[in-house]
């Protein structure tokens, strides 16, 4: 059953590149296999769920961009009839933020970490940082993607085998059960989509420290808004291309890496991007341990495109199921949910009464886990 007609985008989705529309409407098989495990109503004939959440994320980004440019949606589409026409204004604002920040880097790096950790959602993460259990190394610097991989590289690795290696590879394919568990791949994809969605949401945290930013430059908050909304818009507006490592490194404005189980290394070109990377790093740190090294090694930069285009709606729907007073338990809920079968994640994504019932149980378990940790000398047994 088709829930709704394809992508539903304001003003005909002028800023979404046709190749991106096509991509969402006809996912390549390797992507589809992964997301089918976590999205409801997604099968060969029906992509409605993905189309709905992508449409909602797109709409929100366009509305934000219009707001920061002091334009109505109609004015935005009239003055900037295509994504390319938006490009120079986003670019000039980006460079202006770099110029305004250049003498305040250390202050802004500290402010970025503090701003994230002051959120109720990260209350317990802050406790861990204070106790030395987790370190967040945040710098306003060039992104570091030396350890990342693209789909292109992954394919060429397979293609560069010698004849003997190809034979061995063929044998492995035929007789050895691959170590990649589709259930885990789906759960990781959900975790990364949730992460991207949360981090997109947190682009706008600069509003919480607007006064401090205005002391540096009164126009910083507005410039940050344009750059943040524009950065997200670019995921919709840019053509769908097979990414190369050099392209990714040149175009990247932020990166984050979990260096070991207690260090998050975030790099961002400017303040909102650094905040965005810190949030991504925390969520990746919370979720990576459900996968094996082989499964983690297959995660490419290309996959982030879809995760980013659909993530915000996934995160918003997820967060709505948790009351404001329980926001501090979200990290526990995420960790616990990822230990359940992907079918449970699917039910959460579907929303409604069943999703709420599951979430209530997860929140209750999260509270118990946290309280047991605080009270007990051996919290490990409690989960």
């Amino acid at each position: 059953m088709k829930l709704k007609e394809a992508l539903d985008l304001p003003f005909g989705g002028k800023y979404m590149h046709p190749s991106k529309k096509k991509y969402v409407e006809n996912l390549p098989s390797h992507e589809k296999e992964i997301v089918t495990g976590m999205y409801p109503s997604l099968d060969k004939e029906n992509q409605a769920y993905l189309e709905l959440i992508t449409s909602a994320s797109y709409k929100r980004s366009v509305e934000r961009l219009a707001k920061y440019l002091d334009l109505s949606l109609e004015q935005l589409h009239t003055q900037y009839p295509s994504f390319s026409s938006l490009y120079s204004i986003i670019l000039s604002n980006f460079y202006n933020t770099l110029e305004a920040e250049k003498n305040y880097k250390e202050d802004l790096e500290k402010l970025a970490v503090d701003t994230v950790l002051e959120l109720p959602e990260f209350k317990v993460v802050k406790e861990m940082v204070d106790q030395g259990l987790l370190t967040i190394d945040a710098k306003l610097e060039t992104p570091d993607l030396s350890n990342a991989i693209t789909q292109n590289e992954l394919k060429s690795k397979d293609g560069k085998l010698t004849t003997a290696e190809k034979d061995t590879n063929q044998l492995a394919v035929e007789f050895v059960k691959p170590e990649l568990d589709p259930e885990i791949l789906s759960k990781r994809s959900f975790a990364k989509t949730l992460t991207q969605g949360n981090a997109v949401n947190k682009f706008y945290l600069f509003h919480l420290v607007e006064q401090k930013l205005k002391e540096i430059d009164p126009s910083l908050p507005k410039m940050y808004g344009i750059v943040s909304a524009g950065t997200i818009m670019s995921y919709f507006g840019m053509p769908m291309i097979e990414m190369k490592k050099s392209f990714a490194q040149d175009a990247a404005v932020g990166s984050v890496e979990v260096e070991n189980d207690s260090l998050i290394k975030a790099r961002g070109s400017n303040f909102p991007i650094l905040v965005h990377e810190i949030v991504k790093g925390i969520y990746n740190w919370l979720s990576y341990d459900i996968a094996t090294q082989d499964e983690l090694d297959r995660e490419t930069l290309d996959q982030e495109v879809l995760e980013l285009m659909s993530g915000e709606e996934i995160y918003n729907n997820f967060r709505k199921l948790i009351s404001v007073n329980d926001q501090y338990l979200i990290p526990f809920v995420v960790k616990d949910l990822l230990r359940h079968p992907a079918e449970v994640i699917k039910k959460i994504n579907a929303g409604g009464g069943e999703a709420q019932n599951i979430m209530n149980k997860l929140v209750s378990r999260a509270r118990e886990t946290y309280n047991n940790y605080k009270d007990s000398s051996n919290p490990q047994e409690e989960l």
């Binding site: 390319s84 986003i90 670019l91 980006f94 317990v124 861990m128 259990l133 993607l145 350890n147 990342a148 990364k192 992460t195 981090a199 524009g230 950065t231 670019s234 995921y235 507006g237 840019m238 053509p239 990414m243 392209f247 990714a248 040149d250 175009a251 990247a252 404005v253 932020g254 990166s255 984050v256 890496e257 979990v258 070991n260 189980d261 207690s262 070109s269 991007i273 991504k280 990746n284 740190w285 919370l286 990576y288 341990d289 996968a291 090294q293 983690l296 090694d297 995660e299 930069l301 982030e304 495109v305 990290p331 526990f332 960790k335 886990t369 940790y373 000398s377 919290p379 490990q380 989960l383």
Partner: protein, 87 residues
């Protein structure tokens, strides 16, 4: 008579010089009463693992790849060139 006397004296001398005198009987010492030690004896410590936080990753042996942001964002000169080329 003298012989008997000498015998007696020699005997006493011998006893004094060569035989250890009997140890004096000491009166038993009365230990002063001591307050009982009320501190509990610490139980032998079981070797325990360091307290782990429930949010800490459980697999330090694996490492995720880095994630990027806005890798297709329109804010890099190379992307600008790319977009212009496709206009």
């Amino acid at each position: 008579m003298n012989d008997k006397f000498d015998e007696l004296v020699n005997g006493l001398l011998k006893q004094t010089l060569f035989e250890a005198p009997a140890a004096p009987v000491e009166e038993p010492k009365v230990e002063p009463e001591v307050e009982p030690d009320i501190k509990p004896v610490p139980a032998p410590q079981k070797p325990t693992e360091p307290k782990r936080h429930p949010l800490q990753p459980t697999r330090p042996d694996v490492k995720p790849r880095p994630q990027a942001s806005a890798q297709k964002a329109p804010i890099s000169p190379s992307v600008e060139a790319y977009i212009n080329a496709r206009k």
